[in-house]
C-alpha cells in the first residue's frame, strides 16, 4: 500500500482558479518527500485535498488506502497535519492544548500528558508548557503545532512550511526531529517548503510543482541528472579573458548564475564543468592572462541550483 496515491488529481477553486492540475504521484511508506514550488504553486491546496479539507475537482487520491473525499476522518486518524491555518487556543496553555487535541484522538488524559511532556521537551518548549498560548512567539507556536500534529503518533505527517518562522537553531532541531521520526519510526513525511537547503538535508525524494503542475519527481541524484551531468564550479576573479568569459557564461547552470557580479572588475560566475579535470585548466588560463583568482569552488548542483534551473527552464517554455 502506498502512503499517498494521487491519480490525475485536479483542484479548481470556485472562482475558476486551477490550483492543482492533473497531478499523479505515489509516495512509498517511510519516504520524506519534499514538495517544492514557488508561492501559489498549489502545495497547500494539495495538502488540503489529501486531508479532505477540500474536495478534488477531478481525479482520485488515497492516503494509506483511505479516500479523503469520502471518509476524511479515517485519513485524519493516521495523518498529522501542520499548516499555518490550523491554530490552537490562546487561552489554554501549551500543555492544555496538547492534552485537548490528544483527547480529540481518543487518547486518555494521563497518556496525553505523558506524550505532550515528551514532545514539548523535544521541541524545546518544556519551559513554556504552563504558559498560555497567547504569550507564545510565532516560532513557539509553530513548534507547538508540530507537537500537536504528532500527539497521536500519525503514520504520515503533513508539514506545510514547518520551519519558515524558526530561528536557525530551532529549524535545525526540527529538521533533526523529522529525520529521526522517519528513520526510527518509519513515519512518512510530506514536507512543503521553500527552504531548499533544509529540504536537501532531510528529504529522500522531491517533487517540484509550479502553477499546479508537477514538473519533476525524483531523488536528488535523479534531479541532478535531469539538469546537468557535471559539477557546478564557482569562480571569483578579475581580468578574465573575454573569450573565456563568454564561453563560461554559456555554460551557466541557470539564469541566476549567469548574473556576474562586478565590483572593481571582479567577476563571479557559476558554470557547469564536465569534470574536475577542467578546473585547473580554466584557472591557469585566467592567471596566465594576468588575472587574479580569489575563489574557486566546485560542487554538485545543490537542490537550490536544480530548483532554479528547472523553474527557469519552465519560464522559457
Amino acid at each position: 500500500m502506498y502512503a499517498v496515491e494521487m491519480n490525475h488529481l485536479s483542484k479548481i477553486y470556485t472562482g475558476g482558479k486551477t490550483a492543482v492540475a492533473d497531478m499523479s504521484l505515489m509516495l512509498e511508506q517511510g519516504e520524506v518527500f519534499g514538495f517544492l514550488g514557488p508561492n501559489g504553486a498549489g502545495k497547500t491546496t494539495t495538502v488540503k485535498v489529501l486531508n479532505g479539507m477540500l474536495q478534488s475537482s477531478e481525479g482520485k487520491c488515497m492516503v494509506f488506502g483511505e479516500d479523503p473525499a469520502r471518509e476524511p476522518e479515517k485519513v485524519h486518524a493516521v495523518s498529522g497535519v501542520m499548516t499555518e491555518h490550523a491554530q490552537m487556543y490562546n487561552h489554554l496553555t501549551g500543555l492544555q492544548n496538547l492534552i485537548f487535541y490528544g483527547a480529540m484522538f481518543g487518547i486518555g488524559e494521563e497518556e496525553s500528558r505523558k506524550r505532550a511532556r515528551e514532545l514539548l521537551k523535544q521541541l524545546e518548549l518544556a519551559d513554556a508548557a504552563g504558559q498560555k498560548l497567547s504569550a507564545y512567539s510565532t516560532g513557539m507556536r509553530q513548534r507547538l503545532s508540530i507537537a500537536r500534529a504528532l500527539m497521536h503518533r500519525p503514520k504520515i505527517l503533513f508539514l506545510d512550511e514547518p520551519t519558515s518562522g524558526l530561528d536557525p537553531e530551532s529549524a535545525y532541531n526540527v529538521n533533526q526531529m523529522i529525520l529521526a521520526l522517519a528513520k526510527e519510526q518509519g513515519m512518512t513525511v510530506f514536507l512543503c517548503t521553500h527552504q531548499l537547503r533544509y529540504a536537501q538535508e532531510i528529504c529522500t525524494r522531491y517533487g517540484l510543482i509550479d502553477e499546479g503542475k508537477l514538473l519533476t519527481v525524483g531523488t536528488l541524484e535523479e534531479l541532478r541528472d535531469g539538469v546537468s551531468s557535471g559539477m557546478s564550479v564557482q569562480i571569483r576573479a578579475d581580468r578574465v579573458p573575454d573569450a573565456l568569459e563568454d564561453a563560461l557564461r554559456k555554460r551557466a547552470v541557470s539564469d541566476r548564475c549567469r548574473n556576474t557580479e562586478q565590483t572593481a572588475g571582479i567577476r563571479e560566475f557559476t558554470f557547469e564543468a564536465a569534470s574536475e579535470e577542467e578546473i585547473p585548466h580554466i584557472v591557469s588560463q585566467i592567471v596566465e592572462s594576468g588575472g587574479k583568482v580569489y575563489h574557486v569552488s566546485a560542487s554538485r548542483p545543490s537542490l537550490e541550483d536544480i530548483y532554479f534551473a528547472l523553474t527557469a527552464e519552465r519560464r522559457q517554455q
Binding site: 470556485t14 499548516t83 490550523a86 491554530q87 480529540m104 484522538f105 487518547i107
Partner: protein
C-alpha cells in the same frame, strides 16, 4: 469518540467562563430576571397592592377555584406561575446564544476550526459536540437561576406572609420542555445567522436581532395562553420542541457546507 466530545464540551465551557465580559452578562441577566424584578414585585404586592390595578384585571381572568384566596397570595401566584415563567425563558435563550456564538464563531475567529476538522471526528460529530456544549451550558445556567429564584423568593414570601411558595405545574413544562426547546432554537439560529460572521461580536449582535423578536413573540402569545390552561402551554412546548428538532437537523447541513465554504 465520547472522550473527544466531552473534551470539546469542557473546553467550550472553560472558554466562556474565561471571558469576563460574557460571564458578567450571563450572571447579571438571570440575577435581574429571577431575583431583582420578582423581589420588587413581591414587596410592592405586600406593601402597596392597590397600586397594581392592571394585575387585578388579569386576576379576574384566572380560573374560578383560584379566586377565593387572598389578593396578595393570588398576586404572587400569578407572578410566580404565569408571568415569571415567560421572562425566565430569556435566560436559556440568552445563555444558549452567547455560548453558541462563542463556541461556533470563536473557532473561526481563532483559526482553530481547521485544527478541529483535522481530528478523526466527522463533521456531524463535531457539530453535535458543539451543540451539546451550548445546550448543556444553557441548561446549567437555567437550572441554577431557577434554584436561586425559588430559594430567595421562597424565603422572602415566607418572611412577608408566612405562606410557603410552591412553584406550579407550569414550571415543570418550562424547565423540562420549553427551556430546552428555546435553547436549541437559539443555538440553531445562531449557527445559521453566524454562517458568514467572522467575529464572535458580530455573531452576537446578529443573534440579538434574531432572538429579540422571538422573545417578544413568545411573550405576547403566551401571556394570554398561560392564563388559560397548562394544556395549551404543553401543546405549544411540544410544537417548539419539534421545531427545535427540525431546525437542528437542517442546521447540520448548513454547518457542514459552511465549514468548507471558506476554503473552496
Amino acid at each position: 469518540m465520547n472522550r473527544a466530545i466531552s473534551a470539546i464540551v469542557k473546553k467550550d465551557m472553560w472558554e466562556i467562563t474565561a471571558n469576563r465580559q460574557l460571564l458578567l452578562m450571563i450572571v447579571i441577566v438571570p440575577l435581574v430576571l429571577t431575583l431583582v424584578v420578582p423581589s420588587i414585585f413581591l414587596l410592592s404586592a405586600h406593601f402597596a397592592p392597590q397600586e397594581m390595578e392592571e394585575l387585578q384585571e388579569l386576576m379576574g381572568m384566572l380560573p374560578e377555584e383560584m379566586q377565593n384566596v387572598e389578593t396578595e397570595e393570588l398576586m404572587v401566584r400569578l407572578l410566580m406561575n404565569h408571568i415569571l415563567p415567560l421572562f425566565f425563558l430569556i435566560i436559556p435563550i440568552m445563555a444558549a446564544s452567547v455560548m453558541a456564538a462563542s463556541s461556533f464563531v470563536g473557532e473561526k475567529e481563532q483559526s482553530t476550526l481547521e485544527t478541529l476538522l483535522y481530528s478523526p471526528l466527522t463533521v456531524r460529530q463535531l457539530f453535535h459536540a458543539k451543540v451539546l456544549a451550548s445546550f448543556l451550558f444553557s441548561m446549567l445556567v437555567s437550572g441554577i437561576a431557577f434554584l436561586g429564584m425559588i430559594l430567595v423568593l421562597g424565603v422572602e414570601m415566607y418572611a412577608l406572609t408566612g405562606v410557603m411558595l410552591i412553584p406550579g405545574i407550569s414550571w415543570i413544562l418550562v424547565l423540562a420542555l420549553l427551556s430546552p426547546a428555546v435553547s436549541l432554537i437559539a443555538i440553531t439560529l445562531i449557527v445559521r445567522g453566524s454562517a458568514k460572521a467572522q467575529s464572535v461580536m458580530e455573531a452576537q449582535q446578529k443573534a440579538a436581532f434574531l432572538i429579540l423578536p422571538v422573545v417578544f413573540l413568545i411573550a405576547g402569545q403566551f401571556l394570554g395562553v398561560m392564563l388559560l390552561s397548562v394544556w395549551i402551554l404543553a401543546g405549544l412546548s411540544a410544537v417548539l420542541a419539534v421545531l427545535a428538532w427540525v431546525l437542528l437537523r437542517t442546521s447540520l447541513a448548513k454547518f457542514s457546507g459552511e465549514m468548507l465554504l471558506g476554503n473552496r
